[in-house]
Symmetry: C2
DNA sequence: TTGTAGGCGTTATCAC
DNA sequence: GTGATAACGCCTACAA
């Protein structure tokens, strides 16, 4: 019961050739139903399991899709991954997941490892500091589908899946303005990353539209890490003109800010209105509930999965840089609205 | 530049045999340094990439570890995964991750697929309704390391990595009692799962220790889903004797309960004290901050990774059902403490 | 220290 | 419809 049994064992047991067994198992036309039945019955009887190693070598495919994300333990990313996994699994693919830990060097390593592992496609959300893209050259050169999501870079023939961060930033900011805010602060993440820089662009555009001048002091770049909270609070307290509206690039960080501001006796939304980003579960559970932008991670994952599958099936023609933009949504709660 | 180059190409280019190339690349002793250098140089020059398919077939190993979790998009699980990924990646392994979506049937499918993919080991956290374990028989029979974490089942020769849920439940409950609660309610998850049933056992034990009788009405089984909140609130409001202490098996659900209870004008902690479980980020951000049990997901992942690696390296002797219990920790915040 | 050759388990291209 | 047989690319005794 322990030895692995191969198509040769089946062939011998049935008195046919290995080729016939292989074709039967793969439901090849040109094999009689009767033979197929016999083979399959025997396979079950002996507990035959196909050896993927051999299949892979023979077909040069792995039925495996690689994923590189900055961090596994983010609520948004795990939503994305859940969506990807569900979709590609239904299509018979497995997922090899690795994290760059926000370091380009690790990302390069991962890309190389995954390439060598023979993934049939690669999905990537970029690290903070990724500034060159040679590590993806293999993929492009060998026509392995390469899809960027959320934190993207435009490369020839690579799809990207994003939301319109600029527009979302614009809407969030305009909402604050419409609520009467006169002096806004954008608390951004690392501006080297497209998602944050685009939100800031939207922020600026909203100011411009409403004849409010953007000054450098209207934006504070942080790592969106809880450790940055004191810095933010100090910054707010030290402005000459009181800040009355906060656009924070992450809900969790916004929640931390709310907590700290309340401790400093700021009233929210009366003294200062706050809007976050992502619609994390936390946004509706803090006090006051946090206005935010819904950022559909799961749907993004599903779309990424569908996109990669259709590329692998060739059902999607290689359109030059096919880009998908998901719909976001402004969610108004009490942190911006009395 | 497009064609894949093999050790034969290198061999020809260097005027040596393929065997020599193979051994050089694998840094085999018994190959002169000089030859190694030459081979490696040529490999780099020609852009040689090892073909994992062939290596796998030849060695019958994949350098890949399978993971099955109930859901990818849970804050705890993504912490666990982050820990696993980091650890096994450093040891040169890749991770194939799949989710059972809390369904045994899917779990079986995943287990089979991963087996066929030739994973070198399998890490599993069980689905809610898993009640037979035949799908793991292959692994055991073929001596493929199988490790359960968090939601576990005891199988011969399989390690388990857990925290002491019973003890944690006990401590959480005793803390409520010590804060003066007289009529407790345990809001549990699905009691078919060890983690929840054990917490309940701890709950009962704490009651017993303090001469409080456990009645059926002291426990409410839920799915810990936000949709269950109204049911919980009604339950609480309809008890003859007012409930003054809540032990909730998940922080996020506890946060939802807090929000709903506040809306019903319960004062926390004055009228009702609440303790959660997990130490999710949300626990310190709700108002009032939530007492909880720290449940170290990342560390659990790291340990699981180390455990699997050492089993693969044979450095850990096959101890019969080696079980690791992580330390948990009671965290007291304002939801139980005036 | 290096070369030779068989094996890993399939798939695929020919024949028959 | 089915059977040979050659890939697929690497590893590894066994020889030399």
């Amino acid at each position: 019961m322990d030895k692995k049994i191969t198509i040769y064992d089946l062939a011998k047991a049935l008195g046919v050739s290995a080729g016939t067994v292989s074709r039967s198992l793969n439901n090849h036309r040109s094999i009689s139903d009767k033979t197929k039945q016999r083979v399959i019955a025997k396979a079950n009887e002996l507990g035959y399991q196909t050896n993927k190693f051999a299949v892979n070598l023979s077909t040069q495919k792995s039925n495996t899709i690689g994923v590189i994300v900055p961090k596994l333990n983010s609520i948004f990313m795990s939503d994305v991954l859940a969506g990807i996994e569900k979709t590609v699994n239904e299509a018979g693919y497995n997922l090899i997941i690795s994290q760059s830990l926000e370091m380009m060097e690790k990302e390069k390593l991962n890309a190389k490892t995954l390439y060598n592992s023979g993934v049939d496609a690669l999905l990537v959300s970029l690290a903070y500091d990724t500034n060159d893209f040679d590590h993806f050259a293999y993929y492009i050169r060998h026509n392995i589908p390469l899809i960027f999501l959320d934190r993207v870079h435009n490369l020839p023939n690579c799809s990207t899946i994003i939301i319109n961060n600029k527009q979302a930033g614009f809407e969030a900011t305009e909402h604050l303005i419409e609520q009467g805010c006169k002096n806004l602060l954008c608390i951004s993440g690392n501006l080297k990353r497209n998602v944050y820089s685009e939100r800031l662009m939207g922020f600026k555009e909203a100011l411009a539209k409403h004849q409010m001048k953007f000054k450098k002091s209207n934006c504070l770049e942080t790592e969106l890490d809880p450790n940055d909270v004191p810095k933010v609070i100090n910054y707010i307290k030290n402005q000459k003109q009181a800040i009355d509206g906060l656009f924070v690039a992450s809900d969790t960080f916004a929640a931390h800010c709310i907590k700290a501001l309340k401790k400093e006796h700021f009233r929210i939304p009366e003294d200062i209105k706050i809007i976050g980003f992502n619609n994390d579960p936390i946004s509706e559970l803090v006090t006051p509930p946090l206005s935010t932008i819904n950022y559909p991670g799961y749907e993004m994952g599903v779309l990424a999965g569908q996109s990669v599958i259709s590329q692998l099936n060739g059902s999607l023609d290689l359109q030059p840089a096919n880009s998908i933009t998901l719909r976001h949504q402004l969610i108004i709660r009490e942190s911006t609205h009395i």
